[in-house]
Symmetry: C2
Subunit: 329 residues, 2 copies
């Protein structure tokens, strides 16, 4: 991928090379692109002999602990850091607890989100790239930084996870080219894939069994539920649905998929996915939730699973019905 050299990029290069101690920061609830880009940038800056620290507001999820340098990530901003670089954060608030610890503005903001608020002094944002890691593959040499096995492992992890293994519609020809460049180094795509996307806990697998065994299909609408009793039976303790909702979208003929997750204190968490043009965020908003056209969520409190399901499915059917009428009119 050829990135045009801009004044901002040249200024960022000058600043990075002039700094003594650089701190690279990423966003809360870090995903693979956050951890991979923070660590990839950290190792790349070390190739020019800089002292570099890596900071994330939350713990590194266990499936990314294989990344070199992950054990040195803290939730502190070192007092002697004279340069702050944010990667993969669309907004300053996404830095969570790190925000209060900032003694100065962020110097350089490197990101791929279209919604990036350009919160730093120098803002390098390329919303065409599928992952911040993809952007960094092209950017590093322009910043006078080198690639090596460690940088490549971290960036390939960001790239693979943010594209769900090159599966998302954001995956472009250039994304594959970036992956090709990273694989020139001593990295195992197979291993990264297995550790971050394929591997599942025994409990999550049993949860899939329950949820997929109870799946219902009706005229393009697919749904299932995860109950408190079911979770207790199999000893599943995580809050999420273990990605059951994307398994539902794999079912032939699915237009809208809905998962109901029963939680303590009469909370029912609902996740929608839309595979055609139906705006599920609009449905989610009618229950106080939100999201995007194709993926949305909401929580209903003070009800039980069955009642929540009836109301939500009715509202969703109505939205699907209206959408179809709109299409044919």
């Amino acid at each position: 991928m050829r990135i045009p050299v801009s004044k901002e990029i040249l200024k960022a290069k000058e600043w990075l090379h002039g700094a003594d101690h650089i701190c690279v920061v990423g966003h809360e609830s870090p995903d693979g692109d956050a951890v991979g880009s923070v660590l990839g940038m950290t190792w790349a800056l070390r190739t020019i002999g800089k002292k570099v620290s890596s900071s994330l507001p939350d713990d590194v999820p266990a499936n990314f602990s294989f990344l070199p340098g992950s054990e040195d990530i803290t939730s502190d901003i070192p007092l002697d850091a004279d340069m702050l670089v944010s990667v993969d954060s669309a907004d300053l608030n996404r830095l969570g607890v790190l925000v209060e610890k900032l003694a100065a503005p962020i110097d350089i903001n490197i990101d791929h989100h279209i919604s990036n608020s350009r919160f730093a002094i120098i803002n390098l944002v390329d919303s065409e790239t599928a992952a911040t890691a993809e952007y960094l593959v092209g950017l590093l040499s322009l910043l006078g930084l080198s690639m090596n096995d460690k940088v490549a492992t971290c960036l390939l992890t960001g790239l693979v996870t943010d594209t769900l293994g090159f599966r998302t519609s954001s995956t472009r020809s250039e994304t594959l080219s970036a992956a090709h460049q990273l694989m020139q180094y001593d990295v195992s795509l197979h291993d990264i894939y297995h550790r971050t996307l394929h591997r599942r806990s025994y409990e999550a697998t049993k949860l899939w069994g329950q949820a997929l065994g109870n799946v219902c299909f009706e005229d393009g609408l697919v749904w299932t539920q995860v109950t408190l009793e079911g979770k207790a039976d199999i000893g599943y303790t995580a809050r999420g649905d273990a990605d059951v909702v994307s398994q539902l979208t794999a079912i032939e003929g699915t237009e809208v998929a809905v998962v109901f997750v029963e939680r303590v204190n009469s909370e029912v968490k609902i996740s929608w996915r839309s595979l055609n043009g139906i705006d599920v965020a609009d449905v989610a908003r009618s229950f106080g939730g939100g999201g995007h056209q194709a993926a949305a969520g909401a929580s209903i409190y003070g009800t039980n699973l069955e009642r929540a399901q009836d109301v939500v499915l009715d509202r969703t059917r109505e939205a699907m019905h209206n959408y179809r009428i709109q299409l044919t009119s």
Copy 2:
């Protein structure tokens, strides 16, 4: 990928350009690489104005029917074809019912299997490539053939399916480069991925629910079963296990995964997968089956599911035990 120009390649180029009617053939039980390579080669040969027919011994599976030209594939060898090109077949016998219809030897054999028996007059085999489709990406220009949107769609399908979405250990840096080249054309990786790897029938999803709900885990050994009663309950009529076995290999800590599929007439079909060095083909052979070190299968007849399971799990545990002793000694 740079392929060295060999005498065989030059001869193949001369033959293809001199032919009038070329028939491209592929193997029985065609997978994505078989269908994709047959059709990719068909469309590529049409770029030099040749009359081209495509033949497969078995029907094209429904998930590949979106490929351009799939509706014209027959299980006949046209009588006026003066050149036969086999793609993705390791052996002549893999051509199934087409073998009896051959009036002449196969002229050109293009394949990536290491076990290829070099059954044609000209044999172009590259066992380093992850898919025959990957090999064809590099080979086409050397054969004087052009790429276009149709060729690219067919070959990208072969590449994506044979690597399970770039997930297999056979996926190399050059594989990603080939995918990058194909994505220069009007193709949708996202769409191919969804149609061939992600999408599942409602019945197969319910089957996953049953099988994953009943999964057992014991010291690195993971197993489950698909029963006749269960299949009848959900109306699942296919013979296979809907890829349940690879879902088991995703479970953390799995060394060996086994799936038992109950079939009519007291047949129990067993599939093994090994994630460490245990040779499951060796275990399968002791039940009259076979396969590779990492993936094997066998059928036991005249027994019931429970008894088959007891015997097979005991033999598998024994193999795992011996393997561990061997490792520590």
